[in-house]
Subunit: 340 residues, 2 copies
């Protein structure tokens, strides 16, 4: 089967997530010990897939900590050698391998600049884990497929831990416990994603739209689809799509909408109507009955990024299948890149 | 002429920029009065084209202030009603009209939450200007074309003012004085952009790559090209392109590289070589002699975002022309959008 390695790793996700959920409270306790007193802000440091997880982390951290959060700009530190005081900041660095040189060196630099640092890696003894004050080990097992899957959803749960360490989280212990079986349910139901892949069989360009806590899943969906198919997929917030690029959507450039059932839901439903009126093909992924691809209804929006990301993986795999491509062999992609 | 209104406004840019440069030092003095003591961080608040200018502002502000900077997530405040303490923060809100409801309401909300606030608008009496502690009026004159041009480059200069108010700026008074004539020189030289537009006449997908202080220009270039032509253009940092989506570049998906001649230049030149080896058509915009489209050599990288943005405008206009489209009449685009 094409994409067999990717698919096998996707199927490991309920077990990986269950292990993480089992360690959730302990990890939150450890993370609390490094949150600076008088927190000035939270900055996330990442590249690629990890950067998309970080977008989720950024929204959640600002919500729970009550202090501004944002994404660090690694090139300010690698290229420009910026002299920046990070005291009062919690910096959360993500790298699946823990070996992305740029992330390791910037994490060390920001720690030297006063930040308290957290590393989220899938390699407990990696340079990044060693460079940070506290490390969360995803323990997802070796990832062999080039398109990252289980490490991404594991990162999302690790970022939920960071959010919970920073303040009251918008999800309960029961919500967490129900997440692995909910993901298993999604994985047992691949047909809806395959049906969308069939509808989009001739698509060479695609928008992926979400808002707020689901926006990271939109970024990840676009990247996965690009990786597995070469389709020119682009994530965009609903607000920004309306603000201009809606011109580029059309019969040949459909829109995938990810709706987590949160406060942005009405806006996304309205956008779907506007697009359909403009004869733009729309695929809706959400908890509603009218969704083309459903999300588990019991998952709160603050955790819906996990099943939404799994739906995106299914779609990326199915789109590759429909095109006769092998999702395990994307050209031009390497696992660890050296940037300077 | 198609795109006649857009083109006329592009030609106003040297005069608009000259007026702003003439007010530069006075505005920097005013801005300094609102920078909080013990600055905790800087957050930029914007949508659409303004968001791209804000990316430039974010890099520059972290460089000059020596404190972390980032982009605010408006939906955290509009959708989620997040309760966030912004004390110690300078918030810089951008809206050309000064009337984007989401930006106005979030600016007021963050000011109430403790931020000192700056409004950058092209409308001195606009709701946003009135909602902020200090307002910088772009005084660019009414903008009639739907694709924003002169207000964008004016915003970039206003953001250079913010950077200079936060700390030592990486440009001199003489660099500023030379910026308007440099832009006039670019506008007098439209042929190189037209030649690239001819080469890309059949392109329906395009990557725009830059790093650091030029990344905002890449975002703006992608948006302008999408607006005027419907081409699926996407901005991406050189690092992130290598990290995965390089698979999607190819003979049908060329890459426009914006090189400001700064510390990222060697990396961008290397990327251009890698892409050409992969038979990906590349158009290089930079200060070097081998550039397809040149940037003024005397402009320091910290201000090169302005002429690079003008080059992007020329390319967007020329790509519309080559395709027989009217850049003044992009479908599906409205000037002020209401998001909620």
């Amino acid at each position: 089967m094409s994409g067999g390695v990717m698919h096998a790793e996707m199927l490991e996700q309920p077990a990986v997530l269950e292990r993480l959920v089992g360690r959730f409270d302990d990890q939150v306790e450890r993370l609390r010990t490094v949150v600076p007193d008088g927190l000035a802000g939270v900055a996330f440091l990442a590249r690629g897939s990890s950067d998309h997880a970080a977008v989720y982390g950024r929204y959640l951290a600002e919500l729970t900590s009550g202090r501004p959060a944002g994404l660090a700009a690694p090139s300010l530190h690698t290229l420009y050698r910026a002299d920046v005081d990070y005291s009062g900041y919690l910096v959360v660095a993500l790298s699946q391998s823990g070996a992305t040189p740029e992330i390791v060196s910037v994490c060390a630099r920001l720690r030297d600049a006063g930040a308290r640092t957290v590393a989220i890696t899938n390699a407990a003894d990696s340079p990044l884990a060693l460079a940070a004050d506290v490390a969360v080990d995803l323990a997802a097992g070796a990832e062999r497929a080039v398109p990252a899957t289980k490490t991404v959803t594991a990162q999302l749960v690790a970022l939920a831990m960071v959010g919970a360490a920073l303040g009251p989280a918008p999800f309960t212990a029961r919500d967490l416990a129900e997440l692995p079986p909910a993901v298993a349910g999604v994985l047992d139901d691949p047909e809806p994603a395959s049906a969308v892949a069939e509808r989009f069989a001739d698509t060479e360009r695609l928008y992926v739209v979400a808002r707020g806590l689901l926006y990271g899943a939109a970024l990840e969906a676009a990247l996965k689809i690009k990786e597995t198919t070469g389709v020119f997929a682009e994530a965009i917030s609903a607000a920004d799509l309306r603000h201009g690029p809606i011109r580029a959507a059309g019969p040949d450039a459909p829109v995938l909408i990810l709706d987590g059932g949160g406060p942005g839901s009405a806006d996304l439903q309205d956008l779907a109507s506007v697009l359909r009126e403009r004869r733009v093909p729309v695929a809706l992924c959400g908890p509603g009955e009218d969704a083309d691809v459903t999300l588990p209804r019991a998952t709160p929006e603050a955790l819906a990024v996990v099943p939404a990301t799994v739906r995106a993986q299914q779609l990326a795999l199915a789109m590759a299948d429909v095109r006769g491509l092998d999702a395990d062999r994307p050209a031009g992609l390497t696992k660890v890149t050296r940037t300077h």
